[in-house]
């Protein structure tokens, strides 16, 4: 069934055999564009996404930022290659006129080497991404063995978050206050529709599902005020379903949690 296909690569000329391939007309300028693009894109990939993501407030978020940077760097040559050929084809192979150009271009119907190399390279890149992702995903043993985490109950209700500290006399609050360098486990649930509990600078995000309790954990390692937002459209005031998390010293936390109202039940 592949009568034309199997014969076509054999017909495709590999160019005049006397000149080395990389010195032929299209290759050298494309390489040039490729190098220029790489030079432009590499600093972009190194600095821009991580800068936009802001200062992380947990080791987990730093891992995410380095993943983004690594993926950006890995995709620089891919994008540069595709764009180099694209840009060169606009400049170097253009034909203007109101009539179709003569069919003088080499009728390439595929090139087994190119296709195999392309497939292998994209598979290797894919494998790299997968292994990297699984490695970052794997829970770090230090977090697991760092002792009893602070338990925080997170409740989403249209359109506010409320927090409970069952280990601290059932204190409740409308914003989150956490002690620094203390592992925290969030038990997240919803009273009505699906919300998504997102601490932006800590890379914590888990849905708050009605009738289910989902878990997330993090160890905040920087003192400051960070943002909690709802990341799942939950109705009228979804945009306003935001509050803050304040990371403070252990002493400050203890005195703060003491001052909070207790749960009524």
């Amino acid at each position: 069934m592949t009568d034309t296909l199997t014969t076509a690569p054999a017909d495709a000329p590999g160019g005049p055999p006397t000149v080395p391939a990389w010195k032929r007309a299209p290759i050298a300028p494309i390489l040039g564009i490729f190098v220029v693009l790489c030079a432009l894109l590499t600093p972009f990939a190194l600095f821009v996404p991580a800068h936009l993501m802001g200062d992380a407030a947990s080791a987990h978020m730093r891992g995410i930022e380095s993943t983004v940077t690594a993926f950006s760097l890995a995709s620089v040559p891919v994008a540069a290659l595709v764009w180099a050929v694209t840009i060169y084809s606009i400049i170097g192979w253009r034909h203007r006129g109101s009539e179709p150009p003569a069919e003088e271009a080499p009728p390439l119907r595929g090139n087994t080497v190119v296709q195999v190399v392309w497939l292998v390279l994209s598979s290797v890149l894919c494998l790299f991404l997968l292994i990297w992702g699984l490695a970052v995903l794997r829970p770090t043993p230090s977090a697991a063995s760092a002792g009893q985490p602070l338990m925080v109950e997170v409740t989403g209700q249209q359109w506010t978050w409320s927090f409970g500290y069952p280990d601290n006399g059932n204190a409740t609050a409308d914003r989150l206050v956490l002690p620094v360098n203390q592992p925290v486990q969030f038990r997240v649930t919803s009273k009505d529709v699906i919300h998504s509990f997102w601490i932006v600078q800590m890379g914590v995000k888990v849905d708050a599902n009605p009738g289910e309790t989902t878990l997330a954990s993090v160890t905040p390692d920087r003192i400051g005020t960070f943002d909690i937002r709802c990341a799942e459209l939950c109705g009228l005031y979804h945009a306003y379903m935001q509050t803050t998390v304040q990371v403070v010293s252990a002493d400050q936390f203890a005195s703060w949690v003491q001052a909070q109202p207790r749960a009524t039940s």
Binding site: L52, M53, I64, T67, V68, A79, W118, L137, L236
Partner: protein, 645 residues
């Protein structure tokens, strides 16, 4: 034409009874009458209780749709068959719009070329409405604290923009070009099921008013993904929405079966699969995927309709249901659906690139493998939308793997495009601009998709503007750009006139520039942590949103210029020759305007259609030297023309 024999016996019996010549006006009148009747009866019988309003609205909307279809004449054939009088050949000609002038575009017309043009106008209308809503979204977000519309209205606008664009992009290529071009391209006289073809179009026409009615019944607070249980809580606008989805799923199922059957069974003699143009592969795999995917959404919406009108609790965890059930059903449709949108547009670009590069498609087999790989994998990636739903972490790895794997076949398609351009003589006309723009945009869309496939990164990016920017880069930068190219490419064949290149170019590139400005700004605020679908945001995100809004207005201006170019050229454009691009596929070998049954003598295909630069067959209609020789298809089509001469 299958039932010609039956029809001819019918002719003998009742020669003068013709099918009624109904049109869109009778459809609207009939629909309104039936909707009024449905509203009256259901208000009388069913309006009490918590579910009353939902029952009344649902019944009214269904009655409108049925009434509209009856009034437009969709059921003329089946009704006559039930009465024992099948359609005669003369009836079929009336249905096909023979000698009916412009009026046939406003009727239940079975000619695939009419249906194609109808789809084109419909999808461009939907883009107009969806784009208008996009402008309103960006106006709301132009600065923090802007209370241009209320959050309630804003949520509805976001959801309506989403679904209108989704419907518009799903039909934008396989509708106009899959109907108008594909049958000619494969050497057929019409679709396999012409009446179903018209039905699929008019079903969408019935659904669009229902969708727009959402605005008048409280809107939808849910976005187009209508996550349960928020949808259980929504006002009656949700009933309009879900009935729209049910009708649209029926329509896309009918269209999918029809296009698939046509391509599988009706290709010209000698058109083996390896000689079938790549556009046919892209369209057929897309619509066939839609046939599998859309019933999921339809089922989810039927369950939701039961929740809303009879008090079932399918998605209500407090009563034993599960909100995750909905999420799975939705994404089982939702992720294949993006490939339903993307593949025909990508295939159209694959189809037109060889024409303008004057080279064969680089690795036809690679392109087919790429499409097949995407189709195969697309059914196994849906749950990457649920990485943070709180599900079993053991599932993260497998779905991360499948999602990342899909970049391999997609990369293969990119290679085919690059290889086709490689050392070509690229004729710089408007259609091929889509190739360049797509190569730029789609790389950005693809790479950012890889970030999202990574579970830890998704914990930071899920539900943020980053996701919004990513899928706009694939669906708009990739698919919609491909549509703009395909429209410019097939415009001469469909309308008989050339698309104004100067205005088209200006509009096209303004869209592309505005597009990149808009969504690069959106990537920035997404990385910084702005959630999606918010009516307001902290001033921290002010700059990125301002940039996005300005970019959106640029897109809007470019789109209007492109629209003007299309409309103006359609009416006053330069008359197009039969084959202005010197292309080799069959649709360019028939005269323009295309006669009612396309071919007087069906063509015989002896090679594939990408033989540019092979054997000096430069002229699009060379004189046939021998019929069965392995020369490019131009000769094959000429066989047919020789037959008519």
């Amino acid at each position: 034409m299958v039932d010609t024999a039956v029809a001819e016996t019918a002719i003998g019996r009742e020669p003068r009874r013709r099918v009624p010549r109904l049109n869109v006006l009778t459809g609207v009148v009939c629909g309104l009458i039936l909707a009024g009747a449905g509203w009256g009866v259901s208000s009388w019988l069913l309006s009490a209780g918590d579910y009353g309003a939902d029952r009344v609205v649902s019944i009214t909307m269904v009655c409108w749709a049925v009434g509209f279809l009856v009034g437009v004449g969709a059921l003329a054939g089946p009704i006559r068959w039930l009465l024992g009088r099948d359609l005669s050949v003369a009836d079929e000609h009336v249905l096909a719009g023979k000698d009916q002038g412009v009026g046939r575009y406003f009727r239940f017309t079975t000619d695939h070329k009419v249906v194609g043009v109808q789809y084109l106008v419909l999808s461009m209308t939907l883009f107009g409405v969806g784009g208008l809503l996009a402008m309103l979204i960006r106006t709301q977000l132009i600065r923090p604290g802007a209370r241009f519309v209320s959050p309630q209205t804003y949520n509805t606008i976001v959801g309506m923009h989403g679904i209108i664009m989704i419907i518009g992009t799903i039909i934008m290529v396989s509708g106009p070009f899959g109907n108008f071009i594909l049958p000619i391209m494969i050497g057929a006289r019409d679709m396999a099921f012409p009446r179903l073809n018209a039905l699929s179009f008019w079903l969408i026409c019935a659904a669009v008013p229902v969708l727009l009615a959402t605005f008048f019944f409280g809107g939808i607070p849910t976005g187009w993904s209508v996550y349960a249980p928020l949808s259980d809580q929504a006002p009656a606008g949700m009933d309009c929405f879900l009935i729209t989805i049910i009708i649209f799923a029926i329509s896309s199922g009918i269209a999918g079966v029809n296009i698939t059957t046509t391509a599988v069974k009706m290709r010209a003699r000698g058109m083996t699969w390896t000689r079938t143009p790549i556009f046919v592969f892209g369209t057929v795999s897309s619509v066939a995927l839609g046939v599998i995917a859309f019933p999921m959404f339809m089922a989810a919406m039927v369950l939701e309709g039961l929740n809303r009108t009879t008090g079932t609790v399918f998605y209500d965890a407090a009563h034993g249901g599960s909100a995750w059930l909905y999420a799975h059903l939705f994404w089982l449709m939702g992720h294949p659906e993006v490939y339903v949108i993307l593949l025909p547009a990508f295939a159209a670009v694959l189809e037109l690139t060889p024409v303008f590069a004057r080279k064969p498609l680089f690795s036809f087999l690679g392109a087919v493998t790429g499409i097949a790989g995407i189709i195969g994998l697309s059914m196994f990636v849906w749950a990457h939308h649920m990485f943070i739903s709180g599900w079993a972490p053991a599932l993260d790895g497998p779905f991360m793997l499948t999602t990342e794997l899909i970049s391999i076949p997609t990369g293969l398609l990119i290679l085919v495009l690059l290889g086709t351009l490689w050392r070509g003589t690229v004729w710089m006309r408007l259609p091929v601009m889509a190739t360049f723009a797509m190569l730029w945009n789609f790389i950005i869309g693809g790479i950012t998709g890889i970030y999202l496939s990574d579970v830890p990164v998704d914990q930071a990016m899920h539900g943020s503007m980053f996701v919004t920017a990513h899928f706009h880069f694939t669906l708009m930068g990739g698919a919609l750009t491909g549509f703009a190219g395909a429209l410019a490419y097939w415009f001469p064949k469909m309308t008989g006139r050339m698309l104004d290149e100067r205005l088209g170019m200006i509009g096209f590139w303004i869209i592309q520039i505005g597009f990149n400005v808009t969504f690069l700004g959106m990537f920035a605020v997404g990385l910084a942590g702005q959630p999606r679908r918010v009516a307001d945001y902290p001033s921290l995100f002010a700059t990125g949103n301002l940039v996005s809004s300005i970019g959106a207005y640029i897109i809007g201006s470019g789109a209007l210029i492109y629209l003007y170019a299309v409309v103006h050229s359609w009416r006053h454009g330069r008359r197009a020759p039969g084959n202005p691009w010197g292309a080799k596929t069959l649709e360019w070998q028939v005269p323009t305007p295309v006669p009612l049954e396309n071919f007087t003598v069906l063509p015989v295909v002896t090679s594939d259609f990408y033989g540019y630069g092979e054997g000096g067959s430069a002229a699009p209609t060379p004189a046939p030297r021998r019929i069965a020789a392995p020369v490019p298809s131009g000769a094959a089509a000429t066989t047919q023309e020789g037959g008519t001469a």
